[in-house]
């Protein structure tokens, strides 16, 4: 499938003025199939799991089918292992609250310095609430998580290792096998933040061996406002709810309170039905793609970008310089020039980048950086996008010097 054919499936590229969109790590463009499915659901809608009339049953069916589609996308053992949330942040907070409620003062949660704030701040808050001990895996100079430190940092008190599957700054993919092995050795659970990973193909949660896997729809060609927490079968049953309200209960009275079984227990209130349906459609579409070919194209663009950046003497890469175990997310500093200024000038040339600390202040502190410009490549990008960035960077250096 050519890039042109792929682009033909994204409404963004049919707009009057599509730009060189290289901010995919923040939000990808939505796929036509997701948009159509969402519009169909919203055009003729009813609430789910409430009533027996035809429309309501259709909504419930669509919502359930979306859950099944997502389950297939991550190769879950059962659809009920999928909980819909409002996004990856909500999914990570769900674990911090519900799993966190089972922890005691002195129990340990191990994260890494590479985490997005959404997998850092919830654990800081849990530490404030319950007195857990929060430990942080250090980084190697190229930004990879120093998994060699697992041996010394995973103790008998470790209850959870919560790390990113792929860094939103460096693009480095975590050695999940090492993380899972270290956790299993002490009976700890593993949470993976998959927000960046899923844009680059379906994952296999059973193979990964983690217990929790969180991701957002809007980073994998689906709509905003919905995300997923997959949890290994049997784990959610033992956890208390996070948000409470309608739809997540068993019996309610002044004296009695019981909860529904998962996933309903963790989906209080009216869920984002249309968004879930849109995500399901995006996931189903992604399942049809020739991922080996997509990865080959993405890697070629990544190499083109890394090679191009290497020709600028004042550019410093924040992340691995090779192509091994990394995704096409590239952050870089330009000596003496602030990333927002770089992004501003590039933006005027219709190159969409992001600058700043990318919600990862601990990572930048660990790597001795104040911030970076980031380009993130998705399956619809082409060489012209990368070249526009490199040309624009040369222009920016002239404008800003």
């Amino acid at each position: 499938m050519s890039i042109a054919e792929l682009r033909g499936q994204f409404p963004f590229y049919a707009t009057a003025n599509p730009c060189h969109y290289l901010d995919n790590a923040a939000t990808s463009q939505i796929h036509r199939q997701a948009l159509t499915a969402m519009a169909g659901q919203e055009s003729c809608r009813a609430n789910v799991h409430r009533s027996p009339y035809r429309l309501a049953e259709a909504s419930s069916h669509a919502y359930g089918e979306a859950r099944a589609q997502v389950a297939r996308f991550v190769n879950a053992a059962a659809a009920d292992e999928v909980v819909f949330t409002s996004g990856a942040t909500a999914a990570l907070n769900l674990v911090a609250y519900s799993f966190g409620e089972t922890l005691q003062a002195g129990d340990e949660v191990l994260i890494s310095a590479a985490e997005h704030h959404s997998n850092f701040v919830p654990w800081l808050r849990l530490r404030q609430r319950t007195g857990i001990r929060l430990r942080v895996l250090p980084l190697l100079p190229d930004g990879r998580i120093a998994t060699a430190s697992l041996a010394e940092m995973v103790t008998e008190r470790c209850r959870l290792i919560a790390v990113t599957h792929c860094s939103n700054v460096t693009g480095a993919v975590t050695d999940v096998h090492a993380v899972v092995a270290a956790a299993r050795a002490v009976g700890a659970k593993v949470l993976l933040d998959g927000a960046q990973q899923v844009q680059h193909g379906p994952v296999d949660v059973q193979k990964l061996g983690a217990d929790f896997y969180a991701f957002s729809s809007h980073k994998c060609f689906g709509p905003t406002g919905v995300g997923v927490l997959w949890t290994r079968g049997g784990v959610l049953e033992r956890l208390p709810p996070f948000l409470t309200g309608g739809g997540m209960v068993g019996l309610v009275s002044l004296e009695t309170l019981s909860f529904a079984s998962p996933p309903a227990r963790f989906e209080a209130g009216t869920p984002p039905v249309a968004q879930a349906v849109g995500l399901g459609a995006a996931a189903a579409w992604m399942m049809t793609l020739p991922w080996a070919e997509v990865h080959r194209v993405e890697s070629a663009l990544l190499a083109r970008l890394l090679d191009g950046l290497a020709t600028f003497p004042t550019v410093r890469l924040i992340g691995p310089a090779d192509l091994e175990a990394r995704l096409p997310i590239v952050s870089f500093e330009v000596r003496g020039i602030h990333p927002h200024d770089v992004c501003q000038v590039l933006g005027e040339r219709e190159v969409a980048l992001r600058g700043g600390n990318h919600c990862a202040q601990p990572l930048f502190a660990a790597l001795g950086s104040a911030g970076a410009t980031r380009a993130s490549i998705a399956l619809y990008n082409d060489a012209a996008d990368v070249d526009a960035l490199l040309d624009g960077l040369e222009h920016a250096l002239k404008v800003l010097s």
């Binding site: 602030h338 501003q344 005027e348 104040a370 404008v399």
Partner: protein, 142 residues
Amino acid sequence: MSATVYQQAIKTLAEAAHGSGRLEDPDGTSRLDNPLCGDRIDLAVRLAGDAVSAVGHETRACLLCRAAASLVGLTAPGRSPGEMADAAAALEGMLTSAAVLPPAWQALEVFAPVAAYPSRHGCVLLPFQALQAALATAAGKR
């Protein structure tokens, strides 16, 4: 339009870095961060009577923020806290609602092109907000 944003006047202001450096014996200090981009400004102010007598700032930020900090360093000495509050309000008004600048603050016109980029408003406003915060701590000591 970025060629307009990064016009020579802004680059010259940033390069001049009026008021940059540590100020000894300040009456008020502040530290403000822009968490979105990591910009940080430490600002100190000294007062003489009812007017600002000196400003010192250490600004680790983008070019727009450094230019704005420089303009604060250039214009605050000799002006009252009230006048500088007027400047901050005039700047915000120009950026967010196309308000016309008062005659006393035409110097802020240099930032007019930034109005088209709401994500950058905070960069320009940060030094003026830091000055307000430093003046507030100075007032608290009096």
